[in-house]
């Protein structure tokens, strides 16, 4: 008996039998799709027929996200960065939806969406500078790795507390509506966040006031060790919108074209028809974070079964079928990517660390005198003066 057949002695996870990925029953469950598991056009949604450049950008971004993920793990395990939040398996869900928004639209991201930054033009160096907590990245090294954001890209970094920022996004959308602007909004959160009060607040207000926002819930099956059926008794997350009068749908999160389509439509209709709650059905192939061990609560067969729905090979097959991509191009791209990652890592690691004095900035618009005194005292103490 291999260790894969028996759960470890300490396994205390949900003893329910391992069911296959819910995407196997997508049609039956009303989960929107363009592609089947092999990347063929077999879904209930038509091919959005995107330009080749857009498709290739989408795919390359997904590949980059995956490569960053692999590299990030290595950096964390070798002690060069402190913490890692993996996004493996969810590349399509966030990249495609981000690309469905216009550059002037505001994005409130969570912690598993590096593709959102890349798709809007953030460089590898900027990302790795954030992972290393360097002073010269937009967030000045103040946040944990993967809690990304950049005002120049209209991307708001999340407040760490899960779900706390969902109504921030809704409030911002509401503000745009009050001002008469054409800006649209999208906010990313996971299945766990829907249990939090802020989700309820945001949905409740949204149903009444109709802000132009897409609520994008990435249901990856697990909130740390809590599976969906311990998170809610509701059969789906999408249908929670019904209680608030918010349009909702479920889409195959590992089908980039489907994700793109539904997000685009929700975005376009947001001003006239109000907000939409989109549940992307995807899977967290890796652990919750680098501090997590999934073997304690889920069986490895489950993750294995989901590999059939891995968005990257699925999308690649579609692109190859359309003649937009070849194995050789992939190889070249990945090789070049590794070199770019090497360079980004090397440069970012050498960048300046935040100085103690810089901690004191940005607490208020104008620093209070008390803070200035505290800063002077700290610097004096650190310098070893009496």
């Amino acid at each position: 008996m291999s260790s894969k057949d028996t759960p470890p002695a300490t396994f205390t996870g949900n003893p329910r039998p391992c069911v296959g990925p819910v995407l196997e029953r997508a049609r039956e469950l009303g989960i929107r799709q363009v592609l089947d598991a092999d990347g063929a056009l077999a879904g209930d949604l038509p091919d959005p027929d995107l330009p080749k450049q857009t498709l290739l950008k989408m795919y390359r971004t997904m590949l980059t996200v995956s490569a960053i993920d692999a590299r990030g793990w290595k950096l964390q395990r070798s002690g060069r960065i402190d913490f890692w939040i993996p996004s493996r398996g969810q590349e399509g869900s966030h990249t495609a939806s981000t690309m469905a928004m216009e550059p002037s639209d505001w994005i409130f991201m969570a912690s598993r969406e590096p593709g959102t930054m890349l798709a809007r033009g953030a460089t590898l160096l900027q990302l790795f500078a954030q992972f290393f907590g360097r002073a010269e990245e937009p967030l000045k090294g103040r946040r944990l790795p993967l809690l990304l954001g950049d005002r120049r890209l209209n991307i708001v970094p999340c407040m760490t507390i899960v779900g706390s920022y969902i109504p921030h996004a809704a409030g911002a959308a509401w503000a745009a509506k009050i001002k008469g602007d054409d800006t649209r909004f999208i906010v990313y959160f996971g299945d766990g966040a829907t249990s939090r009060g802020e989700f309820h607040s945001a949905m409740n207000f949204a149903g009444i006031h109709n802000p132009p926002i897409v609520f994008l819930c990435q249901n990856n099956g697990w909130a740390v060790s809590t599976p969906n059926d311990r998170q809610t008794a509701s059969a789906t997350f999408a249908e929670k919108g019904d209680a608030y009068g918010v349009r909702n749908l479920r889409v195959d999160g590992n089908d980039p074209l489907a994700v793109y389509s539904v997000t685009r439509q929700a975005r376009d209709e947001a001003r006239e028809l109000g907000p939409t709650l989109i549940e992307t059905v995807t899977y967290r192939l890796g652990p919750h974070t680098s501090s997590d061990n999934p073997d304690l609560y889920r069986r490895s067969e489950e993750a294995e079964a989901w590999r059939r729905w891995d968005p990257i090979p699925r999308f690649r097959k579609y692109l190859e079928r359309r003649g937009f991509w070849t194995a050789e191009e992939e190889q070249q791209f990945l090789a070049a990517l590794e070199l770019q990652l090497d360079e980004a890592v090397h440069t970012a690691e050498a960048m300046r660390q935040t100085a103690p004095a810089e901690m004191f900035d940005d607490v208020f618009a104008q620093p209070l005198r008390s803070l200035q005194e505290q800063r002077a005292q700290m610097l004096a103490d650190l310098a070893g003066e009496a």
Binding site: W106, K140, P157, A172, A176, I178, S201, A202, D362, F364
Partner: protein
């Protein structure tokens, strides 16, 4: 120049801002159609429209959170929490979202919002309608906390709060809403935050307070001047973050005696923080220990608590007497 109650002054200030700045919006429960359960926002929705004076669902957390979002986008929301006792559901949104966006985003995103909370005891309101919640909001930075106690200060400081680029929590003096009338110059000029008001100058003792207690303290000081010849300096701090260290220190260096009175329970109250600062910076001037007059560490009851839980005249007198009679 006009004679206004505290309530009228708050209303006038908000009206002024709504008129002056199209980015100002008001939100809260019952603030629109009803004009607020105290009528603080009376007439404003009629004047400025329901898209700018907004009635919200019953959800303090949601109200505060949406206001954060509005502020991120560029509006200047003024949020009403119906009673300061209800503010706690919104605590995380106020203290860990609104107050932290600027810092957590490296200065990229800011939250210029105001949270208004009717506070303080004296209306027979019991525990959830008489709170003085400032201690929770003084810790950790990122939000200003102000406590006007006169019509003039209510007007000027509300304007300052609405114009501040950072979150401001304004604890409004409920017991004074209608009972205190005073001169207000309705000229749209804001009071600079962070300055104390020397209500009464004196040489023997510094009596430091904020909120409605300002008036109780002034009364006690005047009475003691007559009865015992003690010349007590009364300071209304008005602003808790930032607060006027210089005024407090100048006063203590003059008098050498400090009594701090506040309505929040004594342990962990702001009086302790001020006492620590004063002993740090004016140690050699202290003739005697610093005294705090504040309620004990228990909730504010309903029956009778306005008379004896809240620092009353007798307890303030006792604190002053202990200090003045300390042999130096």
């Amino acid at each position: 120049m006009a004679q206004m109650t505290v309530l009228e002054a708050l209303n006038a200030a908000m009206a002024h801002e709504l008129q002056r700045d199209p980015e100002v919006v008001l939100l809260g429960e019952d603030v629109g159609t009803e004009g607020g359960i105290f009528r603080t926002t009376e007439g404003l929705q009629l004047r400025f429209g329901s898209h700018r004076v907004i009635d919200t669902p019953l959800d303090e957390k949601g109200i505060a959170a949406h206001a954060v979002g509005m502020a991120l986008y560029g509006l200047k929301p003024i949020v009403e929490i119906q009673f300061s006792g209800f503010i706690h559901d919104a605590f995380e949104q106020i203290m860990f979202c609104a107050s932290k966006y600027r810092w957590a985003t490296g200065g990229m995103y800011t939250v210029p919002m105001v949270v208004r909370a009717p506070s303080f005891g004296g209306i027979r309101g019991g525990f959830w309608h008489s709170q003085s919640p400032e201690p929770y909001y003084l810790h950790g930075g990122g939000i200003k906390v102000i406590v006007p106690a006169t019509p003039r200060d209510a007007y000027g400081m509300m304007l300052a709060a609405a114009r501040d680029p950072d979150p401001v929590l304004i604890l409004e003096p409920v017991p004074l809403y209608r009972s205190l009338r005073g001169e207000v110059e309705d000229n749209g000029i804001a009071v600079e935050l962070g300055q104390a008001d020397i209500v009464r100058a004196g040489r023997d003792l510094t009596l430091l307070t904020w909120g409605p207690l300002r008036h109780d303290c002034l009364g006690v000081a005047q009475a003691l001047q007559q009865e015992r010849g003690w010349d007590i300096e009364v300071i209304d701090l008005r602003s808790l973050v930032p607060y006027d260290e210089d005024a407090i220190l100048a006063s203590v260096r003059k008098t050498g005696r400090l009594v701090i009175a506040h309505e929040a329970p004594v342990s962990g109250g702001f009086g302790g923080e001020i006492a620590a600062m004063v002993q740090q910076k004016a140690f050699g001037y202290l003739h005697c220990p610093i005294e705090r007059v504040a309620p004990p560490d228990l909730p504010y009851g309903y029956a009778g608590a306005d008379q004896f839980y809240r620092p009353n005249e007798r307890r303030i007198r006792a604190g002053i007497a202990r200090t003045m009679e300390f042999q130096i």
